[in-house]
Structures are given as structure tokens and as C-alpha cells.
């Protein structure tokens, strides 16, 4: 399982990267594998208020639609429009070119409450055993 150690994670399989005072959000390798064949991504709008744990984006695969939850609260500053024209990027490069959006968190301290690589690994192990 590909889990970069510099990232933080959520129980709902989103990842977060800290770049200065902004946070970049995407979905994990585990999530893209579960979803399989991404054919559409519905992104938030720039300026939209994100609320921690609330659905902020939708990923459609051939088989079903999946809600993507915001890992922290804040204001959306940028979105990855490349996913609109080439949604399969999420499957091919989930931690890189497949990022979803960037936000300015209301409280940067929320970062500290996110899961570390090791904690997230436990979550996946439980899901696999489930």
C-alpha cells in the first residue's frame, strides 16, 4: 500500500498535504483502488466554505458515485480542473497530479488532529479485515 509519510489522512480515505499555510486534499491510493475507473469528478468552487467531515466533492466510477469529505474546515482556494477533462488521473496518480483542491484552513491546528501514516494504515487493515 502506497502511503507517503509526509501526508496526513482521514478515516474516510482522504489525504492532506501541508504547503505553507495551505492544505492540499486528495483521495488515497486505497480509495482510488476501491472506487476503480473514475469517470467523473465534481469539484467544489473556489471560495466555497469547506466544513470538516462534510461532503465537498463527488467521484463517479462506472459502478457508483462516492462522496469525498473535507478533512478540515476552511476556504477553498484552488481546484484541480484537470480532473474535469481527465478524471482517470485520480487512478493513475492519486497523490500527485490527481489532487482535488487546496484550502486555507480556519484553524491550522486541525492538521494535528488528522491521522498519521501509521494510524491510517491501521484503518485500512481493519477495513480489509471487516
Amino acid at each position: 500500500m502506497n502511503l507517503p509519510s509526509e501526508l496526513r489522512y482521514t478515516k474516510t480515505h482522504e489525504w492532506v498535504r501541508k504547503t505553507g499555510d495551505k492544505l492540499v486534499v486528495g483521495i488515497t491510493d486505497y480509495a482510488q483502488h476501491e472506487i476503480s475507473d473514475v469517470v467523473f469528478v465534481e469539484l467544489p468552487h473556489v471560495g466555497q466554505q469547506a466544513e470538516q467531515g462534510k461532503a465537498i466533492s463527488i467521484v463517479e466510477s462506472v459502478k457508483a458515485a462516492f462522496d469525498i469529505y473535507s478533512p478540515v474546515s476552511g476556504t477553498v482556494k484552488a481546484i484541480n480542473t484537470m480532473l474535469e477533462s481527465d478524471p482517470a488521473t485520480v487512478n493513475q496518480d492519486s497523490y500527485g497530479k490527481g489532487w482535488f483542491f487546496e484550502l486555507t484552513p480556519t484553524k491550522l491546528s486541525e492538521w494535528d488532529n488528522l491521522l498519521t501514516k501509521d494510524q491510517y494504515e491501521q484503518v485500512i487493515r481493519q477495513a480489509a479485515a471487516g
Binding site: 476503480s36 475507473d37 463517479e60 459502478k63 477495513a127
Partner: protein, 379 residues
């Protein structure tokens, strides 16, 4: 992404479940069955069938035998199509209707000889159909549900003929579309039919359940150099939808009629009698109220089963199937729409998650294979 919460404890597994596990399949629910959805990717498997060859385990399907002096007449009373089109070794597609014209199921009838018929029914309808036929049985016949004793594998795609040739020592020239042969093989007595649910050239093999695993393993072995790959239920759905093959429980139900579903071509009106004839004649005279149409989304998204179809904010229909077409790279689907708004080219609105997206009514099938010798472009 929410973690899956599917309860699978009540679902039935296919007889080859272990084989699918071994191949790394991802499983999911299909009606009351727990089936392989895909092994690598739905889109990859879809393309395998359109350009090469794939194998599906569809042993969940039901098989009924009708045998006896009056079998032919009885089957003809049950189905809308005409058994007069059949001869030994031929197969026939037909809906089965209630007296009121509602569709009980769509089936394939195969004539072994004039006193022996095999009816292939949808998995979700095995019990319902068996009861239905049982309660509409008459004359000198033996009616048997053999669904648990017969496994079914589908080999589909432009290279399917090559796989069948390397599997069996039989002359495939004696076979043609919607025909079958019955023969003894190392896997027991098999029925090999030129039928399928993908829109490609293809075959289906009915095999005694006890030999099914051996047949599957042999198939994988001889198919390997030809590029044969296992294909799951995910691609089975995208393939059938591109070809506008209807799915029972979605595109037709007990509440819809064959005329509404665009299956009028299967009705043998001049047959003296069949169940539902009166109601369907009445509907044909009066005209249908709704029709199953094909649509393409102009906006992004996928319109799935249950989405409302709107015009000027007023509901005019409902989506019954929808997916992303891997061949056309477009979002497509089928919907029942009030008959006044079913012209080809008509723009409609579809409500997806409380948002309205534009779609256009288009001709179906969405995809049609040109021929086995001419390679089709991806237009």
C-alpha cells in the same frame, strides 16, 4: 469516501466463487447474488470484450426444462414470440407476460427436439418464473427447474470463435447466431450456443455443475495465448447497455409492457393465443403512454436508475439504466418517457443529486458492431 457497509451474509455465491477469488476479483451484490464485479477494471474488461475475448461466469442464470408431448404447444402459450420459428438446435428470444401485459421475464427458449425445450431465465426471477409457469401448466408435460445443476459460461468478443475452436473438436460452421449444438465432451454433455448479452460475436456453454470448475480452468488455459480474460458483472452491464439489451428489474418489470419497452418485434400477433395477448392487442390499438428511450448526457455526470426525467420543470419520465459508455466515452442511459416527448433529438433534463443536467434522446443501440471482418473505429 465512506467505508462500505454492505451486508453480504444473505447473498448467494457462484459455484466458481473460489476461482474468482483466486483471480483477485472485487465482489459486490447483484440482486441476491454476491458476484465478481471486476478483476482488474470495468473499462479494461469492457475493452477486452469489444476487441479481444472475455469469459463471464453467469451460472446464476436459471434453466428450466419442459418435456413431453404437449411441450411445444405449452411453451408457445407462455411466450409472446412464436415457437414456429424454432427447429431442433435453434434458440428464440421472447418476453413472457402476465394477462395484463406486464412483463414477467425475458427468456431464451431453445428447442432440443419437438418434445424437449430449455428455457433460460434471469437469475433474479428463477423462483417467480417457476411458480408462474407451474401455475400456467397444462397437458402432458414434465416441467423441471435445473438451475442448480447447470453452470453457464459466456465467451464473448471478436476472438471468441478462436477460443471455442481450441477448446472443442467440433465444426463451428454448423452453428449460427441463435443456434446451438449439444455434444459429449470431457466435461460431460454440453450445450454450446451462439448467443450472448454483449453485442459482440460470442458463445455460451451450458455445463453440468460438477464439471464447471474443470471447464473454467481448461478455458483459461487454452484461452491464454489468445488473450482471454475473465470479465465481471460491471463490464457485463456496460456492454449490454451500449447494445441496448434490456435488464429485467430495471428496463422492464411486471409494471411495464413489451410495447413500452420497444420489444414489439418479439410479439407473434397472429398466434392463436398466448398469455397477455388480449391486453397487448388492446394497448396496441389504444397506443402506449410511455416509451423506453435512449439518451446521451450533454453535461458531465452519470444518470443512474431512478433519476427523474424533466421537461420545463415537470416530470415526464424516469431513468432505468445509466452508465458511462467506455466505447463512446459518453454518459448514456435508458429511460421511460411519456410518449409525447420521445422524438429522436429531443432535449430533456435529468435530475442527478438535486441538480438538473441536459441530455438528448438518441437512436439506439448506442453501439453496433459493424461485422466480424470489418474493424470498427471508436466513433
Amino acid at each position: 469516501m465512506a467505508n462500505p457497509t454492505e451486508d453480504i451474509s444473505q447473498l448467494k455465491k457462484l459455484p466458481l466463487h473460489i476461482e474468482h477469488e483466486r483471480l483477485g476479483a472485487r465482489f459486490g451484490a447483484f440482486g441476491e447474488w454476491y458476484v465478481p464485479l471486476y478483476y482488474t477494471s470495468v473499462i479494461e474488461e469492457h475493452e477486452t470484450v469489444r476487441t479481444g475475448v472475455g469469459v463471464f461466469d453467469i451460472s446464476h442464470m436459471g434453466e428450466f426444462f419442459v418435456r413431453g408431448k404437449d411441450a411445444r404447444e405449452l411453451v408457445n402459450h407462455w411466450i409472446l414470440n412464436d415457437v414456429a420459428k424454432l427447429s431442433p438446435g435453434a434458440a428464440l428470444y421472447s418476453p413472457v407476460c402476465r394477462e395484463n401485459g406486464g412483463i414477467v421475464d425475458d427468456v431464451v427458449v431453445m428447442e432440443e427436439d419437438s418434445e424437449q425445450f430449455l428455457i433460460v431465465v434471469n437469475a433474479a426471477n428463477i423462483e417467480k418464473d417457476f411458480k408462474w409457469f407451474q401455475s400456467h401448466k397444462s397437458g402432458d408435460v414434465v416441467f423441471e427447474n435445473a438451475s442448480d445443476q447447470i453452470g453457464l459460461l459466456a465467451i464473448q468478443g471478436p476472438l471468441s470463435r478462436k477460443v471455442i475452436k481450441s477448446l472443442f473438436d467440433i465444426d463451428l460452421n454448423q452453428l449460427s447466431y441463435y443456434h446451438f449444438v449439444k455434444f459429449v465432451s470431457p466435461f460431460g454433455e454440453l450445450i454450446l450456443s451462439e448467443t450472448g448479452y454483449t453485442g459482440e460475436e460470442g458463445f455460451e456453454i451450458f455445463c453440468p455443475m460438477e464439471n464447471l470448475a474443470r471447464l473454467w480452468q481448461r478455458l483459461m488455459q487454452v484461452g491464454k495465448p489468445i488473450g482471454l480474460k475473465p470479465v465481471g458483472f460491471g463490464a457485463r452491464d456496460t456492454l449490454r447497455l451500449e447494445s441496448r439489451f434490456l435488464l429485467y428489474g430495471h428496463d422492464m418489470t411486471d409494471e411495464t409492457t413489451p410495447l413500452e419497452a420497444g420489444l414489439g418485434w418479439t410479439i407473434a400477433w397472429d398466434k392463436s393465443d398466448f398469455i397477455g395477448k388480449g391486453a397487448l392487442e388492446e394497448e396496441r390499438k389504444r397506443g402506449i403512454k410511455q416509451r423506453l428511450i435512449g439518451f446521451e448526457l450533454s453535461d458531465r455526470g452519470i444518470a443512474r436508475d431512478g433519476c427523474s426525467v424533466l421537461m420545463n420543470g415537470r416530470q415526464i419520465g424516469k431513468v432505468t439504466s445509466g452508465t458511462f459508455s467506455p466505447t463512446l466515452k459518453k454518459s448514456i442511459g435508458l429511460a421511460y418517457v411519456v410518449v409525447e416527448h420521445t422524438q429522436i433529438g429531443q432535449t430533456i433534463d435529468i435530475e442527478i443529486r438535486e441538480k438538473t443536467v441536459k441530455a438528448q434522446i438518441v437512436k439506439t443501440p448506442f453501439y453496433k458492431r459493424v461485422s466480424s471482418t470489418v474493424k470498427k473505429g471508436t466513433s
